[in-house]
């Protein structure tokens, strides 16, 4: 689906919206030095789009998180004008209001990106009015290192676009995915085997923080790992324990909010299968509290933010067994 035809379709539509004044900024993918090294980028002119915009099987990068920063810039600009208008009125009650800047960002979202986008909207991290979301089709993205469809796309959970203003191409549906197979395999290991598995994987970690920085669920104003007093700063970990702690804290922190977009594993320079940690949490939440997919709609209350008397106590394995005996929830 990501062929030249669709690229041209996205291109002409974005130029149309740009020239019509409907949007001022377009977040898309910029051509690289080779075919596979496209860069997420902001476009503001038709000429730049024409020369450098691309959408093909190498556009795995999820653009939704950039909206947090970019819509904030818009809101800050509006706030500044409002503030100045109020100040002007205190001096002169008849002062005319300066117009608020009207900037809208067009963002292209693949089906899985719309889950991240929706989750960010749900968490009030993006101002919806500042965004013009265009849902685009996806046939799976390639892994630049292996030059084949990446693992996350072979177990794609959904071709459905959750939130959008406009759709290019056809919408799909939620798919029967085998994404928990590897989690089950790890669950089947003995505790020693499991420890050895994760120790082996995490021992390669260099604490570049790329998994955190790319993660659409990681949008804290001030990350705990950026706090030198937290005992786990953003620098290279002091020892193996700190390395594991970083990943465990991160997995807990995004639990119930992770949409399983798989960006963490895509960007890991050491190929650590970080998404498996998150998938384990998703699987556990599904089993303990009933099926839930973060970012699948704006209404459903996240299980980690709600409490009922029948909730299983997930902190001990015993409780899970009890929950099983009670038939799930």
């Amino acid at each position: 689906m990501q062929d030249g035809k669709i690229t041209n379709q996205l291109l002409s539509r974005s130029k149309e919206l740009l020239s019509g004044g409907k949007v001022q900024i377009i977040i898309g993918w910029r051509k690289g030095l080779f075919d596979y090294d496209v860069t997420p980028s902001l476009f503001t002119t038709a000429e730049d789009l024409e020369n450098n915009f691309v959408y093909d099987e190498w556009c795995g990068a999820n653009l939704s998180k950039y909206l947090v920063k970019e819509t904030r810039k818009i809101e800050t600009a509006k706030d500044t004008v409002r503030m100045n208008n109020r100040m002007a009125k205190t001096k002169n009650p008849d002062a005319k209001d300066a117009p608020e800047p009207q900037t809208k960002i067009l963002v292209f979202l693949k089906p899985c990106d719309t889950y991240s986008f929706t989750e960010l909207l749900k968490e009030h991290r993006i101002n919806r009015e500042d965004v013009y979301a265009v849902g685009i089709p996806c046939d799976g993205m390639k892994d630049p290192a292996k030059k084949e469809i990446s693992e996350r796309c072979t177990v794609c959970k959904s071709k459905k676009h959750v939130t959008y203003d406009e759709l290019i191409g056809e919408d799909g549906g939620v798919q029967d995915s085998k994404r928990f197979d590897m989690v089950e395999k790890i669950e089947g290991m003995t505790p020693d085997e499991r420890f050895a598995f994760w120790q082996g994987e995490l021992s390669r970690c260099i604490r570049c923080n790329a998994c955190r920085d790319i993660c659409p669920a990681c949008t804290c104003e001030h990350c705990i790992f950026d706090n030198p007093n937290s005992g786990a700063s953003q620098k290279v970990a002091a020892d193996d324990f700190e390395e594991s702690m970083y990943h465990i804290i991160r997995a807990w922190h995004v639990a119930g909010r992770c949409t399983d977009c798989g960006e963490c594993s895509r960007v890991c320079p050491q190929n650590i299968p970080l998404h498996l940690l998150n998938r384990k949490f998703i699987k556990d939440i599904n089993e303990l509290y009933g099926p839930y997919t973060a970012g699948s709609d704006m209404e459903t209350k996240p299980p980690m933010l709600t409490w009922t008397k029948n909730d299983a106590e997930p902190n001990v394995v015993y409780a899970r067994d009890k929950a099983d005996a009670q038939g799930g929830r």
């Binding site: 030095l33 990068a61 570049c208 920085d213 620098k235 970990a237 320079p269 190929n271």
Partner: protein, 348 residues
């Protein structure tokens, strides 16, 4: 030159490994390669390069610098360094080998000398391995590094079913002396054939002829104030991938760890891409990712060369091209700046 049949490589590793730690590139479970300590049964990777560079041997991720032990009102200062064993790193590529000289210039050849780094350098013997199949992302040639004739204490070539060795330093000669029973003397003809083939391949790589004339000290301010940094850095995540896979990135932070009865002071890699890299008691001069991003490339292409006879602190290994989550890298930076018309100095 000395040769050894390739089939006897394991015997060679066994001989070297018997005298002290030997590290070789090994395939890991993720399909990439890392340097690992050799032991019986461990096979050398055929990968062009390891994910992380060989700088780790001399500048490890973390290193204990000093311990303070509290004893009542007395504080004992303890140097945690143990006598370091001599070790050998086998299979270092020309780019990584060239990076050692760049780091040496900062940590050894100027004062104060980094004795921790120097100690490791002195105890390590580097055996380099010539490249034969450079990747499209390789551009060491741009910095006059010859992939087919790598530096190091001993240079090695694998060609025609044999491994060829040439010692370049006293340390290298000592290593060769220790393994001489396994080696035969031979002329360098097959090596020369391989070298000319590799050079031919390298000359056709896409980034070996980039124009670096814009990156000189006299153009520093114009480059610093250039508008290009806004666009280049706009989607940078601020992660540290590029700096940690880079063979010439050598910045560290010193941190203290409360052990309960004292303080363990250690250093760990730091990254100019991180938000608190320049955080000081008073303020942080680099408030946005643009300043941090600019710093990294200005350092590699302008500041370091200004201090070190024009030598750029990039060796063209291509790791940042492969690892950056958003595929932004030094080649894109150089190309974009080259394509941007010069702006008046200091002006915007």
């Amino acid at each position: 030159m000395y040769t050894l049949p390739l089939s006897q490589l394991d015997t060679l590793f066994e001989t070297i490994g018997a005298n002290g730690p030997l590290y070789i590139p090994v395939d890991n479970t993720s399909g990439k390669a890392d340097f690992k300590r050799w032991e019986k049964g461990v096979r050398m990777s055929s990968a062009l390069k390891t994910v992380r560079s060989a700088k780790d041997f001399f500048f490890p991720k973390t290193e204990n610098l000093v311990n303070f032990r509290m004893n009542g009102k007395k504080i004992e200062v303890e140097d945690p360094r143990k006598e370091l064993e001599d070790f050998v790193v086998f299979g270092v590529r020309a780019c990584d080998a060239a990076s050692f000289a760049i780091v040496d210039d900062v940590y050894i050849n100027q004062k104060p000398v980094d004795t921790y780094y120097k100690n490791r350098r002195e105890h390590g013997t580097v055996v380099t391995l010539a490249c034969t199949e450079p990747a499209q992302t390789c551009f060491c040639e741009l910095y006059d590094i010859d992939a087919s004739d790598p530096k190091g204490d001993v240079s090695a070539w694998i060609t025609d079913g044999s491994v060829y060795f040439r010692s370049n330093t006293d340390k290298g000669s000592r290593l060769i002396d220790g393994i001489k029973i396994l080696l035969k003397e031979n002329d360098a003809k097959t090596v020369e054939t391989q070298q000319s083939e590799t050079r031919e391949k390298v000359s056709k790589l896409p980034f070996v002829n980039l124009d670096l004339s814009k990156y000189s000290g006299d153009k520093m301010l114009a480059l610093f104030n250039s508008k290009v940094w806004d666009n280049l850095s706009e989607t940078c995540l601020g992660c540290g991938t590029c700096t940690y896979v880079c063979p010439t990135c050598m910045c560290f932070d010193v941190r203290s760890f409360d052990t309960g009865d004292g303080i363990k002071q250690f250093r760990c890699w730091d990254s100019c891409m991180y938000s608190d890299f320049t955080k000081m008691a008073a303020a942080n001069p680099r408030l946005t990712q643009k300043e941090r991003f600019r710093q990294r490339f200005m350092h590699k292409l302008v500041y370091y060369p200004m201090e070190h006879n024009g030598v750029k602190s990039c060796v063209g290994c291509g790791r940042c091209l492969e690892s950056c989550p958003i595929h932004m890298n030094i080649v894109k930076v150089i190309k974009t700046i080259n394509e941007t018309p010069d702006q008046p100095e200091g002006g915007r």
